[in-house]
Amino acid sequence: MIKVEQLHKSFGENEVLSDLNTSIERGEVVTIIGPSGSGKSTFLRCLNLLEKPTSGHVFVNDTDITNPKVDILKVREQIGMVFQHFHLFPHMTVLDNLTYAPMTVKGMKKDEAVRKAKDLLERVGLSDKTNAYPNSLSGGQKQRVAIARALAMEPELMLFDEPTSALDPEMVKEVLDVIKDLAHSGMTLAVVTHEMGFAKEVADRVVFMDQGKIVEETQPKTFFDQPKTERAQNFLDKVL
């Protein structure tokens, strides 16, 4: 579904990603972990071209999206993204947040978009917030709306960039539960997270990044029980 080849990204002189090679299979749940500043967000953002790779290739369903001829909006339709700070549209109701993109981008009819949005809100447990504005919601509720908004586009892949890092501790679970539910439904997920419990429990594979490189990439059990590299060992000592 996703294939990354020799991906490099620099901001000016600063090389942030150096020579990443990996892939994500359909239905797979990949968690990306690593110290702050190691390039996790940048890597995730290269997958939907919110950041433009300096060199290398990113294939989405065999289309090389680094090719300038590719219509990137079409690619983004297939890839949902959830941000640390939600980025809901504050001037729209929850319902409009969910229906705007499907209607504008996919030309979906209003009643269909509304019906789908209501299904999704029920799925994330927020049916009662349909007509609320984002600023009246708690952090956990906002993030669940943000997930529903991304799902409303019916993406094939969902990217999560530290979806629970901005939340008060008591709200982390409600958001992780929604993501777990997605994982079990067979959705393809790439999740940057500091929630090691979540990575252990849900991930098919853990990608450990440090200083712009993929240092280890393996099953969660192997990674957490017997990390191969000293860097991974040091990181785990700090966070566990």
Binding site: L50, L73, M81, F83, F89, P90, H91, Y100, T104, V105
Partner: protein
Amino acid sequence: MNLDFSQIVPYIPFMLEGVWVTLQFVIISIIFGFILGSLIALVKISDIKGFKFIADAYTSVFRGTPLILQLLLIYYAIPQLTGYDISPFLSAILTFGLNSSAYVSEIIRAGIQAVDKGQREAAEALGIPYRPMMLKIILPQAMKNILPALMNEFITLTKESAIVSVISYLDLMRRAQVVASDIYRNFEPLLFVGVLYYIMVMILTIAGKYVEKRMRASD
């Protein structure tokens, strides 16, 4: 103290009419300035290098020179260069419109850039194209910053508008001068139009506060 307001009484309708004359060209100027300023702002936030430079230079020149100089240049230079005998009214709206478009373009640019850049990223990640993103997601939020600043620009323009009296445009200010030379008294007519200016500005200020409050209420 030798004040005699009774002498200006016959001139009051004449001076009051100046309120309308002043407001008229200020309103036309601000609309003109708003439309042109919006276009310039769009160029400024775009990536088109050459145009962007022109837009920045335009803003810089209009903000970096005295308004009265711009007014006199347009009023005297256009007839001299083109032979077209431009009227005081046209010179006034042209000067104030062009000048205000420079300020308005900065207000709009700043208002748009003050919108959290996560909003744009969220829209892009959903595959929303540039135009609907701008019109339906960025601009409605930018309005919160833009509208109050526009009201301020309106107030500034109303006060500065008094300088068109130097090209004999019969605005409120000029009318005070006309009355003064008629009755050989300066203080009374100047004080009278001063109060009128103050009332106009206060009304606009109150309207601005109201707009600001409405904007904040929608948070």
